[in-house]
Symmetry: C2
Subunit: 213 residues, 2 copies
């Protein structure tokens, strides 16, 4: 493993920031860049079963904090995004997606019929629960990309699953859009008082994490 | 969005490579760096419910290719890794994890009792299916990080879910380890003949992917 790799150094540097410096604001450009990386994230078949909700309204941030066991990161970090899964990946969704591909690439939707049929088969063969579980995994690809992108830019982040998703869905009006909140990421800059910044990172050894065949 | 961001450029550049140049090999250092980024990936509570299987044996690669609907990437890409989820996140697993934290940070396991109890509650409150679904999402954080890391280094990658996981588990002996394969990533360099390299990337507009509140 190259000690000098800036990517590995960034991954070592990052940690789930527990206390943010509420006075340090992320630039609009930096926040947009993280969102853009998320938007470009890969997903199975390119289906993008997600939405990224940027929460700016301080009152909404406060309500979400209450739904997140009063974790201070929710309101004290410069930015907050909620990652939600689309619970309605169905035939109509696929038609819309195929239309989007056709338009982007200047081909006829009909020329994509084989791909469309394959997608529809793949989706209709899953139970609702399995479909949401599969779609949710895709959202976590974007979560990984958000966290790596922030780290590469020396931006602190705290990924969070510890909140009442039903309450957050209600606060953000996600249920009526057929979306469900899965995770949140607070982004900004660590407080000098965050003692957890100094905790040594705990990860499996290479021998435990990696198997060679 | 800054047009000049190298991260965004890398995310634009990458695509699910369908045809690799079988003669172009990834350096050992580059492959190790991608794995190292994966090993350092964040996960809920830091539980790391995963294993990364590097498949080097050409015969095993061939068997996996057969279990993956004969997709050529499996054998023609320079490297292949399989991402598997740990299906046995239980009380014993948590005890081991707590011991690992205590050892790494030089504290007594007893001082982590509050955290340990919280983890055990969180895990025992989930059905087996829900637990595996939750753990599987964590694996996809690492998948995102693998794909971004490869892209940043101008290494081509093809993430794949299109394979028979039971067969792949059998080939790799994962079932008896209580792991299950979820995704694979072929890594290497694109073939000049890969027509899909020129396909325009299809992603939601910012307006569709991102919601502001």
């Amino acid at each position: 493993m190259p000690n000098t790799s800036p990517i590995v150094s960034s991954m070592e540097w990052r940690y789930a920031t527990k206390k943010f410096d509420a006075t340090k604001k992320l630039s609009k450009e930096d926040f947009s860049e993280i969102l853009e990386a998320a938007r470009l994230s890969p997903s199975s078949f390119g289906l993008q079963p997600w939405k990224f909700i940027v929460v700016k309204d301080p009152k909404v941030r406060q309500s979400i904090r209450e739904a997140a066991y009063d974790q201070s990161q929710v309101t004290e970090a410069s930015g907050l995004m909620v990652l939600a899964v689309n619970k309605k990946i169905n035939s109509a969704y696929i038609d819309e997606y195929i239309f989007d591909i056709a338009k982007t690439r200047g081909v006829s939707p009909n020329s994509l019929k084989g791909f469309s049929d394959m997608l529809k088969n793949s989706v209709s063969g899953r139970s609702t629960e399995n479909l949401i579980s599969w779609s949710s995994r895709q959202v976590f690809i974007a979560l990984g990309i958000i966290l790596e992108t922030a780290a590469l830019k020396n931006i602190d982040a705290c990924p969070m699953e510890g909140f009442d998703p039903k309450k957050v869905d209600e606060i953000l009006g996600l249920e009526k859009l057929s979306f469900a909140s899965l995770a949140m990421v607070a982004v900004g800059y660590r407080s000098a008082e965050d003692v957890s910044a100094d905790y040594k990172k705990v990860r499996f050894t290479k021998e435990k994490a990696i198997m060679e065949v």
